[in-house]
Symmetry: C2
Subunit: 290 residues, 2 copies
């Protein structure tokens, strides 16, 4: 099975887990919007949870709730980022965004409830028998997703749009470590936490991976095909925003992304072939088309 097939199959299992959870929630529009929001997508964060868990000897059935939780948080963040008051995007994963398909109120509420759902999934015994493990996952996810992590990064991104001067390389790196890096890091660390193991190597791997992912995103924004990406592109240049491409140039950005992938692979050097999924992910993030 190719890496892309493997990733797609994993995304399907995580999405099925979320669909099963939401099946019993009734038929209000906000619930339908939640179901819609957790369909599609690469499922990269959930895949990292499952692969990191397998590497640490945790069975997939035990890792699925954590994978579903991080995909729920990711889906919530996309819904809110796409709102007219934020990035005002009409297309996501090749489909209309929630506020276009339903309305803004439903989109705000569906995002809110998907965040809540993530913590609900992690708090249940199905996630881990040991409550100390569950609470460790919850504490670290809250730290990564909140006002010192993802939300701060999104706020910094919005502030950068109206700032007098474009961000420096240091500024944009900090922004991206918060905005996308924190959740990617949590995903890779979650498998170690589920096993009660030291998440150190997973954290180093994911720090490099997350930054490479974002540089690739900036390159995609310039070079990508909107139909393949399933979302609007060429937004950053139009907005006059600093990106890794505007700061490093296209070739410089590519070189930096490749170097980061090597760093991510180095962080996995102590592991055998069971880390090959994580290795393939590092190579994938800079070659993907969406």
């Amino acid at each position: 099975m190719s890496y892309r097939d493997d990733l797609a199959a994993s995304a399907g299992r995580v999405q099925a887990c979320l669909a099963d959870e939401l099946a019993g929630y009734g038929d209000a529009p906000v619930i339908a919007a939640m179901r819609y929001a957790v369909r599609g997508g690469k499922g990269l964060r959930g895949y990292l949870v499952l692969e990191s868990a397998a590497l640490h000897g945790v069975a997939e059935a035990r890792a699925l709730p954590a994978a579903a939780a991080i995909e729920a948080v990711h889906a919530y963040s996309l819904i809110h980022d796409d709102l007219p008051a934020m990035d005002d995007d009409a297309l996501r994963r090749g489909q209309p965004t929630l506020h276009v398909k339903w309305d803004e109120a439903t989109a705000i509420l569906a995002g809110d409830a998907l965040q809540t759902l993530a913590f609900e999934l992690l708090a249940r015994t199905g996630c881990a028998a040991d409550p100390a493990v569950r609470v460790a996952l919850i504490a670290s996810l809250a730290r990564a997703a909140g006002a010192r992590g993802m939300v701060l990064g999104q706020a910094q991104d919005i502030a950068a749009e109206t700032a007098l001067a474009p961000l420096s390389l240091e500024g944009i790196t900090e922004l991206q470590v918060n905005k996308t890096g924190a959740l990617i890091r949590w995903s890779a660390e979650a498998g170690a936490l589920l096993a009660g193991a030291d998440p150190g190597a997973m954290g180093r791997y994911a720090a490099s991976l997350g930054l490479a992912f974002q540089i690739a995103d900036d390159i995609l924004d310039v070079e990508g095909d909107a139909a393949k990406a399933g979302k609007a592109l060429r937004k950053d240049a139009g907005a006059g925003k600093a990106t890794f491409v505007s700061l490093l140039g296209l070739e410089g950005a590519r070189a930096r992304a490749r170097a980061l992938v090597e760093e991510a692979l180095d962080a996995l050097s102590a592991y055998d072939a069971r880390a090959d999924g994580l290795r393939a992910t590092a190579r994938f993030v800079i070659t993907r088309e969406k």
Copy 2:
């Protein structure tokens, strides 16, 4: 000390706990907005946590994180409810709402991060030494706040505004049990959960209290003084929405609220004078002016 003084003092301690937490979060606008959002307010939910905890022999220092968590969730819900896409309110607690004072993007993000903060506070050892207790509080709060609780209630409330027929008494009761009842119930049960005790009596008390609170809110909307309430009133009648007052009449609604307060007091009959704060709360909710 009068009940109102006692409630205000409790609100001050819970707000100080949130201010201390946010003091180390830097100075981005989204953080300033979070600080602003957790100031003011009656602090009724936090008070219920502290009183319920005291009744179950839990020291206030141990109950403060849970009280801060529920006030953070309440603040998040108010920020998002006040947005233009939802209730479009410009005034809250006598001050401009967040999207008026900052902007919509900052308001959405501040609300998002306050929800996250609630789970972060509950996940820390400061909340309870036993991780099983922390995870029980997290699981029940997520259930109460999410798509089968508060968010569903808010969605039902918005749907009612555009429905062809006004809600029945049964429909509006279900809506309010979700929208405001679920968090009030969690607040009263939290003290029992912190002590590892059965939350049954607290749940019965809070179910009646929450409904009485909402009926009083509907009465306030008709009879209240906007300056004292610190928010816009006469909104429901203007919107043609069904309320407990429109369905039961003003006298009928008052009688129902009084009966619910008696039910709430009955649920406390097994407790001595240490439950007097909870008893006073039951009487307070139908006599308050905001």
